[in-house]
């Protein structure tokens, strides 16, 4: 990570450090910052570099590993979609209205962020399991089962990841000037068209950020999924099973494969949601 420190000091020189430049302060920042960045990147790098091409391609050819990754992608996609469909309207409501108890609702939405993953799994099992409050009647009435199905995986993923969409989209909506919506109304657009043509496009970045975070959180979830739905295995569960059965090496090859898929999509979504910032109309 020497390049990071170098970038920091190159910068200090490049911008013609004023007598004012708090050199000591920035040096400490870059030193600690480089340590932390290294701590976050080195394990991923070490994991990737540990793999020989042959071991890696062997694992990539294993049908069960590939199925698990596809299942994870499907689950994360559905979870992000559902979070967007229900979370974006909720975020709009929270951003545009105020009512007694709004703070309580916001706190409730944040709760899953601090629920330990295995606790989340057990709580979901109580509701969506074979004898669950909803799981039993739903299976009996409409045949919708959450055990051993993609539906269960999506439920587990959605529970731990939906708050991100609501929070980021709410911030996105709050940043949209309500006067622009009012102008659209006077131009003859009804509330729905105003929402679609003005509000939604202007809150796009916040919403995309939320969806990206929800996707990332969904695809990475292990604890809640493993309790609610052991089979069919999502990729993180499969990797855990490989680790228990065959040890580190076999698990590492599958881990690298999943890492690439997971991070690739994440970085694309992240780039999309950052996009060119909508410049302020000043």
């Amino acid at each position: 990570m020497a390049w990071l420190i170098a970038a920091g000091s190159a910068h200090a020189g490049g911008e013609r450090a004023a007598p004012s430049r708090p050199r000591g302060l920035y040096l400490l920042c870059w030193f600690l910052g480089s340590l932390l960045t290294a701590f976050l990147v080195v394990p991923l790098l070490a994991l990737t570099l540990s793999q020989s091409w042959t071991g890696f391609s062997d694992v990539a050819r294993m049908a069960d590993v590939r199925d698990a990754i596809v299942l994870s992608l499907e689950g994360a996609f559905l979870s992000a979609t559902l979070a967007a469909l229900a979370g974006v309207p909720l975020a709009y409501g929270l951003a545009r209205t105020s009512f007694p108890g709004k703070g309580v609702v916001e706190a409730l939405i944040d709760l899953p962020l601090a629920v330990p993953h295995t606790v989340a799994g057990i709580a979901l099992l109580m509701v969506f399991g074979r004898q669950g409050v909803l799981g039993e009647p739903l299976a009996a009435l409409v045949g919708l089962k959450f055990w051993g199905t993609l539906a269960g995986i999506v439920v587990a993923m959605l529970f731990v990841s939906a708050p991100y969409t609501v929070n980021a989209a709410r911030i996105g909506f709050a940043a949209v000037d309500p006067r622009l919506e009012k102008i659209a109304r006077t131009l003859g657009l009804n509330p729905w068209r105003t929402f679609w043509r003005i509000t939604l496009p202007l809150a796009r970045r916040g919403i995309m950020t939320g969806v990206t975070l929800t996707y990332a959180r969904s695809i990475s979830e292990f604890g809640a999924v493993v309790i609610l739905v052991y089979y069919p295995m999502t990729a993180p569960v499969k990797i855990y099973e490989l680790f228990l059965r065959f040890g580190l090496d076999q698990a590492a090859s599958a881990a690298v494969l999943l890492l690439f898929v997971s991070l690739g999509l994440f970085l694309i979504l992240r780039a999309l949601s950052r996009g060119a910032p909508e410049r302020e109309n000043r």
Binding site: D177, K182, I183, A184, R185, L187, G188, R279, N281
Partner: protein, 370 residues
């Protein structure tokens, strides 16, 4: 109510702690009405109620002869322009204008306008056709104003509403855009309600003025009347009168009232409402109506025959350059502020401490009983 204009009838509503109380005014086709008041006076609430964003508790809103009180904003046919002009930042100029596609069904008698609903034609009319593909962020304030007008006109409005569109601009740009806006409004012949806290803006733009404070309408009337005959000291302050004096009616004789201010007596046109001797009054005198006679003239006998011309001897306290003007503070037993043009003041070689004689025409002193 008025046929092609706008009318607000005893509009009242409460919003949290704020209350708008029985606001009542009208503007005819082609007129510009300015709602003038300090921050928190309810100017914007009034405007947004006319636009349909607040439901009034009582009262009605008429636009072009239609009672729109129960209609949502999108059916009121309003062109709404806000601070910074409120262009949609994610759409280019043409898309901003194309968003309002009601150009076809034109409102009451606007067929005479050289405007179709075609965005390109509108942009051309406002001289900004070359900007069609630009984003709002890349436009100058002047270009933004023209695009905002083109967009508003695309909605075939029966009424324009302006919510302090210039308040973020510097003084020079503000003046330029104001003149341009006035010219366009004159040409478009659509009534306009313009909200402002700046009395000089009101003076330049308005045909009529409504003065609002704390949700209450203090006065309304033609611009000249509001500026020259404010109904109360509060209005005088809002329209920027420099001299507001406390006095008491000493005597009235015909149409002339003698008013005691401190130990001086000023003669002015008597107030329209009867006010007998002893009535406390307030005087509103514009600084440009306080004329300064050169010290030499002071010795000339005052032509007492002229019934309502006031002459006061005093001393200059200080001078201050204000652009083309010089503001002069004078102590005549009562404090007065006078304006002179810079060259006039220089020619008279006035300086602090100089003795001067001040003249004020009786009809330049407005007597307020409120």
């Amino acid at each position: 109510m008025t046929d092609a204009g706008v009318a607000v009838e005893t509009l009242s509503l409460s919003l949290g702690a704020f209350r708008l109380d029985a606001v009542d005014f009208a503007a005819a086709r082609g007129e510009i009405l300015v709602v003038l008041g300090p921050n928190g006076s309810g100017k914007s609430v009034t405007l947004e109620t006319i636009a349909g964003f607040h439901r009034p508790e009582s009262g009605r809103v008429w636009i072009a002869g239609r009672d729109v009180t129960a209609l949502p904003p999108e059916r009121r046919k309003i062109g709404f322009v806000v601070q910074n002009f409120g262009l949609f930042p994610h759409l280019d100029v043409e898309a901003n204008v194309a968003l309002a596609r009601r150009g076809g069904r034109n409102g009451s008698g606007k067929a005479a306008l050289p405007l179709s609903g075609d965005p390109r034609a509108l942009l051309k009319y406002f001289g900004v056709a070359h900007l069609a593909r630009r984003r709002p962020a890349d436009l100058s304030p002047g270009e933004k104003q023209r695009v905002a007008l083109a967009r508003a006109v695309a909605g075939a409005p029966d009424l324009f509403l302006f919510d302090e569109p210039f308040s973020a601009l510097d003084a020079q740009t503000r003046g330029e855009l104001r003149d341009e806006l006035k010219a366009f409004l004159r040409e478009l012949k659509i009534p306009a309600i313009f909200v402002s806290h700046d009395h000089s803006e009101a003076l330049t733009l308005a045909d009529k003025i409504v003065v609002l404070r704390g949700g209450v309408m203090l006065q309304s009337g033609p611009t000249a009347e509001i500026f020259q005959k404010p109904a109360a000291a509060a209005v005088a302050r809002i329209v920027g009168v420099e001299n507001i004096l406390d006095g008491r009616i000493a005597a009235t004789d015909g149409g002339i009232a003698a008013i005691a201010v401190g130990d001086r007596t000023l003669r002015a046109l008597a107030p329209a409402r009867f006010a007998g001797p002893g009535t406390p009054v307030r005087l509103s005198i514009r600084a440009e109506d306080v004329s300064i006679a050169a010290p030499a003239e002071a010795s000339a006998p005052a032509p007492e025959s002229e019934p309502a011309r006031n002459r006061l001897d005093g001393k200059i306290l200080g001078l201050r350059a204000l652009g083309a003007l010089v503001a002069i503070e004078i102590d005549c037993g009562l404090p007065l502020k006078a304006y002179l043009l810079g060259p006039q003041a220089r020619a008279m070689k006035l300086g602090a401490g100089d003795a001067v004689t001040v003249e004020i025409a009786g009809d330049a002193i407005h007597v307020m009983t409120g």
